[in-house]
């Protein structure tokens, strides 16, 4: 069985490499335009040079910083507000329809008013990212805190727990899976909005870099930038998954 899976992995790798080789050959023989589809070897070289020359670090750091600020801000605010709204039937009745209205709103639509109010700059960028990223966490934690097992609420009452203790010891752990589902979407949204802001409002970062690469027809660098952004999305998501598995390990033990 493991041998079979190993063979499959190998076949998958071979398939991907074959595609890249085919691309390489077609591009080298000029069957496809190298302006639009530069040979993978050249994109790889551009990627290597970006890292070797250190030119990648500044924009990468700028993008990551912007993304992290926005995401953390959104997560903290979303979690606190979500806990308050989710655990109160009264607040839910008044606020839930409004929150649902914001869910399908294209978050990038907030950029033009944000530029008008805050001007171009880091404050505007972080605010826009935080505004966009807050909804998944907020709605996730409202949902999580709403669906607490009524028996747990009764236990808390009979133990005469304070409201804060109840939120910390019972409600938060039981809402954690929903919160993490929200955090995960928020993280992806943060990266997207960071790139959008960089492209639209000329903030320095990876997004601006790939747009500039396109405008000057440096397509290998464009492809390299896309790969870096893909890796950024993949790695940030992986880190969050590791944290989630650590924090929710008790849940798995509880299920078995």
């Amino acid at each position: 069985m493991t041998l079979y899976r190993f063979a499959m992995r190998l076949a998958a790798l071979a398939f991907a490499l074959t595609l890249l080789m085919l691309w390489q050959l077609l591009a080298q023989s000029n069957a496809i335009s190298t302006v639009f589809f530069p040979p993978p070897s050249r994109s790889l070289q551009a990627l290597y040079e970006l890292f070797a020359s250190g030119r990648i670090w500044q924009p990468l750091a700028a993008t990551l910083e912007r993304m992290a600020f926005g995401w953390v801000l959104a997560s903290v605010a979303g979690l606190v507000l979500g806990a308050l709204i989710g655990s109160s039937r009264l607040l839910r009745a008044y606020l839930e329809p409004t929150l649902e209205f914001f869910r399908p709103l294209p978050a990038s639509a907030i950029i033009p008013p944000a530029i008008l109010i805050l001007g171009l700059g880091q404050t505007m960028a972080v605010s826009v990212i935080a505004f966009a990223a807050i909804w998944p966490v907020l709605l996730g934690s409202v949902h999580g805190f709403k669906l607490i097992d009524p028996r747990l609420t009764e236990v808390a009452r009979s133990l005469e727990m304070t409201r804060f203790d109840f939120l910390k010891k019972i409600a938060l752990p039981s809402a954690l899976p929903d919160i993490f589902a929200g955090l995960r979407i928020s993280l992806a949204v943060s990266l997207i909005l960071a790139v959008v802001v960089e492209m639209q409002a000329s903030q320095p970062g990876l997004g601006q870099n790939i747009l500039l690469a396109q405008r000057t027809y440096r397509s290998p660098e464009l492809y390299a930038g896309i790969v870096v952004l893909g890796l950024t999305g993949y790695l940030t998501n992986s880190v969050l998954t590791i944290i989630e598995n650590r924090l929710l390990a008790w849940r798995q033990a509880y299920r078995h």
Binding site: A12, P104, P106, I117, V196
Partner: protein
Amino acid sequence: MAPWRGLLIPGLLLICWEIAARATAIPEALSRPSLMIEAIQASSLNGALMLATLQTLQTTLLGLLLATTLGIAVGLLLGISPLLNAVIGPSVEAFRPIPAIALVPLALLLFGFGISLEVSIIAFACVWPIIVVTIAAVQGLDERLSQIARGLEFSLFQRIIKFILPATIGRIWVGIRIAAGIALIVAVTVEIVVNPRGLGYAMIFAQQMLQVDLVYGYVVWTGILGWLLNLLIQLIDQNWLSRYAVSGR
């Protein structure tokens, strides 16, 4: 739960905003609700609003259509054949973490400004939930169905049309529903970033012209549009596709 309670807070906020703005307690860049309504009314009278809305809806629907077709095709392929799933799956999966918006410069290089640029980005963003859900739906099919199909000596095409699609459409619809939620957001985003058409561009243009009220008008209108689209999906969900819901497995 009385519906008026959901409207109370936003209503009060709008009134406070209006009063504060009239008393010039807040900067002009914040506009005020009555001026926004006026601006959006003017824009709807000269046809600009209608044109922008139709342009955005056009690309949204085309992108969603492309994503649905591609997503179901790829999903069926990878769902039916475990071998293909093992060999091709990882290559397909490698594209998934790329934020769709990162592909905007590439699409701009390939297609230039216009519909194709926007449709391709929307399709890329929307295709993933449909692929994932289709693969899961096909793999989750009742084993007996495939045995019957084999017994009837159906061709692959007949199997797909007569067995697999009818049995999985309920679950595939879930993926399409998620994709539809993403499509409008991506469309507006692409328009805001580069593409000179539709509601997103109208917003950016109004902002660059410093037509503050119009900017807010468009933002609110886009919000309403997203909300209406969501409502439409829910209606289709309840009235039209509910009969497939049980046959999902």
